[in-house]
Amino acid sequence: MGKAVIETKDLTKVYDRKTACDKICLSVGEGQIFGFLGPNGAGKSTFVKMLIGLVKPTSGMASLLGSPIGDVFTRRRIGFLPENFRYQDWLTGQELLHYHAALSHMPREVRPKRIGEVLKLVKLEDAANFKIKTYSKGMQQRIGIAAALVADPDLLFLDEPTSALDPIGRMEVREIITSLRDRGKTVFLNSHLLSELEMICDEVAIIKDGRVIESGTLNNLLTGKIEVEVTAGNLNGLLDNRIADFGRVLKVDGSSFVIELANEEKIPTLASLIIRSGGRLYNLNRRKRTLEELFIDVVQGGDQ
């Protein structure tokens, strides 16, 4: 991990008596795409709003790009797309970007070129001179992304950036995000679209009831447990006794079952047992867990 651009220590927000974020400790390295997941009301947006400066933390510390949160000067290097994107719809797309560039203290002489670039990036060049109120929801989300990118920030917070986009639009936004990473930028992504996060994130953290309950690199989290899908005939009751000793049977469907194994060495032992016991092994497939499965497992597991 490169040097940390986001660091939080015991960051807490309490509204009246409800704890929205409870002592959150996170570290996000430079040049990463970091996914922040959690069920509705888990505290994701509150956490981002604290980092961005919209909400004051009750306690704890946090820094962005090496400066304490709230530092106005550092915000010149930060871009933000809010979840409920809403912009001055009486402005044209181009005017909105000029306005955001000016608010970001971008020098006047470089604005036209940069605005042209981001309009091209989000594919809104043809609609640049139309008023935002004439834009579709997807176009509004694109202009929001352009507004977040216009100052060429080093750190970008995107809260549900593809919620209003069609599949092609989502793919394009994914390409924009990965191209930012390629240029050394850091992207903090809040999203419910787990399959999309899985495609692009380097690290994720899962939050529930205001607390981070799982975090790490996506690779470690998804391969941490060994799941094997087996299709076999003539098992002769093996499933009920000896196979169950290998690990937790997650699912049984006719002649197929999914089992969670303690380690990789158990895979050939399991195959050997089935064959030695007279079983007919048709398929043995090591499954990689999806982020969605991990998410459901972690979130539901926390309930138990």
């Binding site: 919209l54 909400v55 809403r86 912009y87 306005y99 608010l103 970001s104």
Partner: protein, 293 residues
């Protein structure tokens, strides 16, 4: 701050707030001008009838009657214009912060490298530009209509223009402060009620000060409401500038509660300015400290 100012002013133009206000104001000025024109004609006819019927007025009496009548109609115009600019100030700014917080428009702005106080001061300055421009044009229009139709004198009256433009700014500061804490609807109701209390209190004070009423209680009530909302006091000071500090006893009868029988002190004007600044400071402090969820 100036970026926010420019955007606020542009918003007033683009959303046609200022344009709509100007169009409706033109309508008001046409109706008011026609009223002045026909009143001037009627006065001439009545005077001719009075004289032909054997009546006689000394030069002093005639001048006094004309001066009071002219002042009365001039003040009537200023009174309604004060109401118009006050309502414009309230309704253009009641949701200036709250509605943008409610719909999330402020989220992307607050996250920019800009201090929260600059957002508030920028908005205040933007609305101030719009309201000052509008108030000044309205005041001068009424002044010119009275001058050309009624022959009213302009000297000494133009000084009131500064006070006239101050009125909406006080309401703007209160409305902005409320908008940083309250919902748009609650803020609108509270600021409008406060304005109404100030106006009614001001009228009660004038009635209480009339020679044939002479009620200290009513005058005190007016002073208290002026402390709560000093806009009416400013109007009374404008009246004092227009009519002069020496009151003609007939003013109480003809101008009535629209006049300034009970004249505000200079201290009240200083209080009004401090009141405006205090609400601006409250706006900045509340907005700087609050969570924007």
């Amino acid at each position: 701050m100036l970026i926010i100012t420019a955007l606020t002013f542009k918003e007033a133009l683009r959303k046609k707030i200022l344009i709509a206000a100007i169009v409706l104001t033109l309508l008001f000025l046409v109706v008011y001008g026609l009223g002045l024109h026909y009143i001037a004609q009627d006065m001439a006819v009545h005077k001719a009838g009075f004289m032909s019927g054997g009546g006689s007025l000394s030069a002093g009496q005639e001048q006094a009657m004309q001066e009071i009548s002219k002042r009365a109609f001039f003040l009537l115009g200023i009174y309604f214009a004060s109401s118009i600019v006050s309502l414009l100030a309230i309704f253009s700014s009641i949701g200036s912060v709250s509605s943008e917080m409610e719909n999330g428009m402020l989220h992307a702005i607050v996250a920019k490298p800009i201090r929260r106080r600059d957002i508030i001061l920028g908005k205040f300055l933007g609305y101030t530009l719009m309201l000052t421009f509008y108030s000044a044009v309205l005041f001068v229009s009424i002044l010119l209509l009275n001058h050309y139709i009624f022959g009213s004198r302009l000297d000494g009256v133009t000084g009131a223009i500064g006070l006239f433009t101050l009125q909406p700014l006080i309401l703007l500061a209160v409305s902005l402060a409320g908008s940083t804490r309250l919902s748009t609807l609650a803020n609108g109701i509270i600021v409008f009620m406060l304005y109404t209390v100030g106006v009614i209190g001001g009228m009660l004070e004038q009635v209480g000060a009339m020679p044939f009423v002479n009620s200290t209680t009513l005058v005190r009530t007016g002073i208290i409401t002026s402390l709560m909302m000093p806009v009416d006091s400013i109007y009374r000071m404008i009246v004092t500038i227009i009519t002069g500090t020496t009151q003609n006893p007939l003013d109480a009868v003809i101008i009535g509660p629209f006049g300034a029988i009970s004249q505000p002190s200079n201290a009240m004007m200083i209080y009004a300015v401090i009141y405006l600044i205090a609400f601006l400071v409250i706006s900045v402090r509340v907005f700087s400290r609050r969570d924007i969820g």
